[in-house]
């Protein structure tokens, strides 16, 4: 064959018994492939055998042992076979227990790289078993799914179970096309579709932003949306939040990579009371605002810290850290009632929220990857997690992990900030005018909703609260100051990068109700 045209390679991955061989048999024996000369490479010894009706297949088979011990031999053998024959396509059935990155390294090794292009990677899964084996069978399977273009699901007959499995798969790889095994039309479509180079997409998207800016701006301004203000507020919040987000992901990746799970679960206090106390003390000494506390919260939960304590940490640390206390003190001109009120009510509320998760533990795993997340990090750097033992390797992994987490959480920060800067530019006056001559409860709810919508950093919200002191009673300001750091649009978006919807919903509801009641009761009782 000529070396100029690269051979298209199709890779089929999936766990043992997922039905990889059957899938390849059924697909390649269809009429569409009858004229193609195909090399099938197998890295698996399964029950099913290949059978070809058209006699146009050549087989190669390697054992998992050979793959681990002698990849050079496999390379040579592949090279030899390919050069001797002129194949149209290569199909690879990959071993379900070996990470895809191994194959990637093999196929893209210097000697083979110029012969192949990996066209598509297809993951086959058995709907009956996938939910049970994910997370229990090591990192290879999720890693394979996260590298797939197409996921084919077998044995998922009811549309309900198909949807559930599709969600699981998309949690691992949001870009994958999930198809039923019988919908060949669908599979074909994705199999032969040429995907745009994502670099092209990237630059197109930037051009689109520029174009939208040019064309839409006058239009939006006509509609009363002050684009300039939105951009400024957006950049203000982002420039302020990004450094803190970086601190957060560095700390959380540090926990993830350097602190063994066993240490945390051994050392962390078993009793919920002590756990929550530890969380409060930790919250005071880690001067992080809410952008940073969410990634840390996530890695604490992954490391097995009880949800109640972790929730307490997440809600209390943006309120009681020294920077926030100081900025509140300044903003309210040294009004100790406000400062102490904010600290105490913040602690009380977060303890109650924490205990609520102790009393009624969440039924399902709160991390949205389910059992999976306990095992691997969300960053997609599966390949080395287990094997890295040297300090240098760990440091590199730490950097890579923190960067991946930064991008992961950062996208939600961007979306959340954008929404809130839009609100801020357009609608503060709406909130203010909604409150005139209303009862404390209503004022409080307005202020709390405003805190939620504006998504201010907890180190700056005090002065904004202060600027509303003319229009709102102190109780409502307190609601703003206590609830705002715990929950807002930005936080909800950031939480959704790692947690299930039901957890976020429950957390939002609990924190709103608890903050409201705590502040309301205090205001009535203490005469606020």
């Amino acid at each position: 064959m000529s070396l100029e045209t690269k051979l298209p390679v199709y890779v089929v991955t999936g766990f043992l018994d997922a039905g990889k061989t059957t899938f390849i048999n059924n697909l390649l024996n269809r009429a569409d492939w009858s004229d193609s000369y195909i090399l099938i490479v197998r890295f698996e010894t399964g029950d099913a055998e290949f059978c070809s009706t058209n006699e146009n297949f050549t087989y190669l088979s390697f054992m998992k042992k050979e793959l681990e011990q002698n990849p050079g031999m496999i390379e040579d053998k592949l090279l030899e076979t390919i050069v001797q024959n002129s194949f149209d396509e290569i199909w690879i059935e990959w071993n379900g227990t070996v990470p895809f990155s191994k194959l990637q390294n093999l196929l893209l090794s210097p000697s083979l790289r110029n012969l192949f292009t990996i066209h598509k990677v297809i993951n086959v899964s058995n709907g009956e078993q996938i939910e049970n084996i994910l997370g229990k069978t090591g990192e290879a399977l999720p890693e394979q799914i996260s590298n797939s273009n197409i996921a084919v699901v077998r044995n998922a007959d009811s549309s309900e179970s198909f949807k559930r499995i599709r969600n699981i798969i998309r949690n691992i790889n949001p870009d994958v096309h999930v198809c039923r095994i019988k919908s060949y039309k669908n599979i074909y479509k994705h199999l032969f579709k040429r995907d745009e180079h994502s670099g092209t997409m990237f630059f197109l998207a930037i051009l689109a932003i520029l174009f939208a800016h040019l064309v839409m701006r006058p239009f939006l301004e006509m509609m009363g949306i002050p684009v300039n203000t939105v951009i400024n507020i957006f950049l203000g919040i982002i420039l302020q939040a990004l450094p803190f987000l970086m601190i957060g992901v560095l700390l959380s990746s540090f926990i993830q990579i350097f602190v063994p799970k066993a240490t945390i679960s051994r050392r962390f206090p078993k009793s919920p009371g002590l756990g929550i106390l530890t969380a409060i003390v930790g919250g005071f000494f880690l001067p992080v605002c809410d952008c940073a506390s969410i990634p840390i919260f996530r890695s604490l939960v992954r490391k097995g810290v009880p949800v109640s304590a972790a929730v307490t940490f997440m809600t209390v640390s943006p309120i009681i850290n020294p920077v926030v206390i100081l900025s509140t003190y300044y903003a309210f001109s040294g009004n100790m009632t406000i400062v102490l009120g904010r600290i105490c009510l913040g602690i009380i509320s977060s303890v109650i929220i924490g205990f609520s998760f102790e009393l009624i533990p969440p039924k399902k795993n709160i991390l949205n990857g389910g059992v999976l997340d306990g095992l691997m990090c969300s960053c997609g750097c599966y390949e080395d997690v287990e094997s890295v033992t040297t300090l240098k390797g760990k440091l590199l992994l730490f950097l890579r992990h923190s960067q991946a987490e930064f991008f992961d959480v950062g996208k939600y920060l961007i979306i959340g900030t954008f929404i809130s800067s839009l609100f801020q530019a357009v609608s503060i006056s709406v909130f203010v005018s909604a409150q005139s001559g209303t009862a404390l409860a209503i004022s409080m709810i307005i202020m709390m909703i405003m805190a939620f919508v504006l998504s201010l950093c907890s180190s700056s919200d005090a002065v904004v609260a202060r600027s509303f002191a003319n229009q709102f009673p102190a109780g409502a300001l307190m609601g703003f100051l206590v609830f705002g750091p715990m929950m807002d649009i930005k936080n909800v978006m950031m939480l959704s990068s790692g947690f299930s919807k039901s957890f976020i919903g429950r957390f939002l509801f609990t924190s709103f109700v608890v903050c409201f009641l705590t502040v309301f009761l205090f205001a009535n009782w203490g005469g606020m």
Partner: protein
């Protein structure tokens, strides 16, 4: 989608990190970051450029490590701020700010510098709600205990307020000429020593801030925008002026105000006020005030 040894995703990540770090360095060098955040953020921004640079360096090793699926969408986390920073936009002015006038007291560097400054906050309407609120929100607003709660103690941490400026002060002729750089220190100084500056002639520059809701028809504030944390919390600060021909002035117009300082009454509380004797148009001052 082609699997190449050259890893485009890593290349993109490295580029974004470098571009981001460069643009932050530019913002820091030019001082333009002050349109978005306060000087306090400077060390944090330096920190973020360092982290970006380290991430970029750490990526180089993976630049030639092959990868089948190339993703790029996540890079927008850095690219969107960069693109927006590069797109033409102007700094925020008063007409873009929807936050109301909170009184200079809200931004006092040293809140404990004396009775007068605290009173001035009440007088500038800060806590009018607690004393004059017609709304009975807790059932006991007007009870003595409720009000006592707001007579917070003034004597905590009595660190003396050190006026770091006196430039423009002419004690002989009882004149204060506030240059733009000293706007904020002077305002806190005057709030703190209202009695001392009684009768002084004062000159200051700000934009005309009118507020139909909380200010009377002859009252305005020659204000500047103060930023505590970021562009999202910009709010006007200044000293209340009394001027009968206020209708001549347009809201947001930059003016230099000359007038006589005196202790005024607002909601029954003392605060420094200016009775205007002269007004002239002024150049726009494009620098925010950073109280902390």
């Amino acid at each position: 989608m082609q699997a190449k040894a050259f890893n485009f995703q890593v290349f993109l990540e490295i580029s974004c990190n470098i571009v981001f770090a460069l643009i932050i360095i530019y913002l820091l060098k030019s001082g333009n970051y002050l349109y978005y955040v306060t000087p306090r953020m400077e060390p944090y921004l330096i920190f973020s450029t360092i982290v970006s640079a380290i991430w970029a360096l750490a990526g180089i090793k993976r630049l030639f490590k092959p990868q089948h699926l190339i993703r790029s969408a996540h890079c927008f986390v850095l690219m969107i701020p960069v693109v927006l920073l590069l797109l033409p936009h102007s700094a925020l002015g008063i007409n873009d700010v929807s936050t109301g006038y909170a009184g200079a007291g809200a931004y006092m560097k040293n809140p404990t510098s004396g009775n007068s400054s605290i009173q001035s906050e009440y007088s500038s309407g800060q806590y009018s709600d607690f004393t004059n609120d017609p709304v009975d929100y807790s059932g006991n607003t007007t009870s003595p205990s409720a009000q006592e709660d707001y007579n917070y103690s003034y004597d905590i941490s009595p660190s003396p307020y050190e006026p770091d400026v006196k430039s423009g002060l002419d004690e002989e002729n009882k004149k204060i000429n506030i240059i733009n750089d000293e706007f904020y220190p002077w305002i806190t100084e005057i709030y703190a020593n209202m009695d001392g500056y009684e009768g002084y002639e004062i000159t200051m520059t700000g934009f005309v801030f009118k507020d139909q809701e909380y200010l009377n028809e002859n009252e305005f504030v020659p204000a500047r925008l103060a930023m505590v944390c970021c562009a999202a919390d910009l709010a006007p600060i200044g000293i209340l002026c009394l001027y009968d021909n206020l209708s001549e002035l347009e809201s947001g117009q930059w003016v230099t105000v000359t007038g006589i300082l005196h202790k005024g009454q607002y909601n029954g509380q003392d605060e420094p006020q200016i009775t205007v004797t002269g007004i002239s148009p002024a150049e726009e001052v494009l620098v925010y005030i950073f109280p902390y």
